[in-house]
Symmetry: C2
Subunit: 333 residues, 2 copies
């Protein structure tokens, strides 16, 4: 290791194995291991913070003199909502994320959820437990429509996969447009209530920001097509749980596939577990076998860019740089 090799604070959750490529990282940098509890002790003098604890809020608790040497934060997650806070946004620290790693697995999970509902697989499994043979008609998924709210990398992967099997897909993003390469038509999220009722399936994969928090509220749910299916693979806070519960109980919303929740793990006493038409999974839609390797490889690749950067601006050298003002990687809109 050269004397100028960077110092990395590597934040992991307690009892979680380090990145599988740690030896390679240590060839390029001095690594200081920590958890949220001792982050403050390892930050002074650190050039880089790598969040292997994917949804940690520990940086904001330690912001100040201890972080004066910090130039770059890499989070091994797609969403940066837990990480960002005003002082970090206002600083020169460059933030990068795990853009791309989860795109295709999450798109598959979304399509799996749509198919499971359309083909009545959970109903069939319930009948199977009772040894009951009951023929039922299914939905021809290729004759249905889907609105994908969120036009970042994961939203685009969803659009491509849903279109590949014949679903009519429209996007919803910050700005309306007619010729998006993946979506074709994109609706402005500000005009969502006027359009959301056109779709059999609504997928929420928008970044969690002040603008998107609680966007699927009672009014939005009431505007959805009767019997529609909500698939949330973004963040739990995008959806008003109480309004969701009301809509499902009333029979207006037909189904909800929920992989993310405002509180995770979802508490055992949550009413969501037992609502009609709900399928719950444990924030795992993107976590296909090998996901930790992919995250670690991506962090290492960006570290190589960091080490080779010299005097060049970090924001131009690193890949997957987050627009801290917007709260996601810009370009998608």
């Amino acid at each position: 290791m050269s004397p100028e090799s960077p110092v990395i604070a590597l934040l992991s959750a307690p009892d979680v194995a380090p990145p599988p490529n740690l030896a390679e990282i240590e060839e390029l940098a001095t690594v200081r291991h920590c958890t949220a509890d001792d982050l403050g002790e390892v930050l002074p003098g650190a050039d880089v913070l790598v969040l292997w604890d994917f949804f940690s809020r520990a940086l904001r608790d330690n912001w100040g003199p201890a972080t004066s040497s910090l130039r770059w934060v890499h989070v091994c997650a797609a969403g940066v909502d837990s990480l960002l806070f005003d002082e970090l946004t206002a600083s020169d620290v460059v933030v990068t994320n795990a853009h791309g790693v989860f795109d295709r697995p999450i798109a598959e999970f979304v399509l799996a959820s749509i198919f499971a509902r359309d083909k009545r697989l959970h109903e069939s499994m319930a009948l199977q437990r009772d040894h009951v043979w009951k023929h039922r008609e299914t939905v021809a998924t290729h004759r249905t429509s889907a609105l994908v709210i969120g036009t970042g990398g994961i939203g685009r992967a969803c659009a491509k996969m849903l279109r590949a099997v014949g679903i009519s897909v429209v996007g919803a993003g910050r700005t309306a447009r007619e010729t998006d390469p993946d979506f074709g038509h994109v609706i402005a999220t500000t005009e969502l209530t006027g359009h959301i009722g056109d779709f059999d399936n609504v997928v929420t994969i928008a970044p969690l920001t002040a603008q998107t928090s609680g966007m699927i509220d009672a009014r939005m749910l009431a505007a959805m097509k009767p019997g529609a299916h909500l698939i949330n693979v973004g963040r739990g806070e995008l959806v008003d749980d109480a309004a969701l519960a009301d809509s499902l109980r009333s029979g207006h919303l037909g189904a909800a596939s929920l992989d993310v929740f405002a509180t995770e793990p979802l508490p055992a006493e949550s009413e969501l577990w037992d609502l009609p038409g709900v399928a719950i999974s444990a924030h795992m839609s993107g976590d296909a076998h090998g996901w930790r390797d992919a995250l670690a490889d991506q962090a290492l690749e960006n570290l190589r860019r960091y080490v080779a950067a010299g005097a060049e601006p970090l924001a131009e050298v690193l890949v997957n740089v987050v627009d801290k003002e917007r709260g996601y990687i810009s370009g998608g809109g």
Copy 2:
């Protein structure tokens, strides 16, 4: 109706509504309604038999002098295994089927079954019933492979849909070939045991014939990849149930999604209901909303061709003509 309008024997199951377009059929033909019980009474003088009772074996029981006027049998099903028998095969009677109606819904059902297993949806639902949050890694379906046994219309639709989401697909059919338009590579079914072990998913949608009956036997199952997933949407008789049960119990086969059975409805006492990794549905994979309308429209369209045929050979005028020797529509191989 003209005096030369044909006489149709329309065979329905008891208590089943007639084709929804019956009025249009009756503009073109004299319709004699019957069930299996009184088929013999309406056959004499009938030119056409339409099997609205999809899997009826009643024609063979009434074959003889009563069927001497019969020129055409149309069955509103994709598989003709229940219908065919030696005397019918040897006769000049033209047989047509419901080619095409079920292609895309069945392909969707197959992909839904693959996704449900890869994304562990049934496990998640079982955990949900107990309010248990348990993160688990999933399979990236686009990194998996599938063998589709059967290269007719439904098999081709399966290949297209599975490929559309990134699954590596190979076909198995009567003759090996390298440049099939939908499959690319097709393995000869006679050489299946040497190749079946290469695939994560095996889809059986071959027509049921003397050659295919029982093809998924103990030896074939043993040759499959450990943990593989068998999806049967063809006919129950393609699979040896006892061998299947042994393979699942031993843990060699990882999952089986079964929509068809040698005895339907599947008896409540069948061991299949409770085997590990099994998902059972009630012969419904192709039955998307509107399927009866589509079947009736297709029968009517062929009846229009029949009426307009004049002296032309029926086998050239009608569409979806079954190769009675082979037991399916030829061309796929």
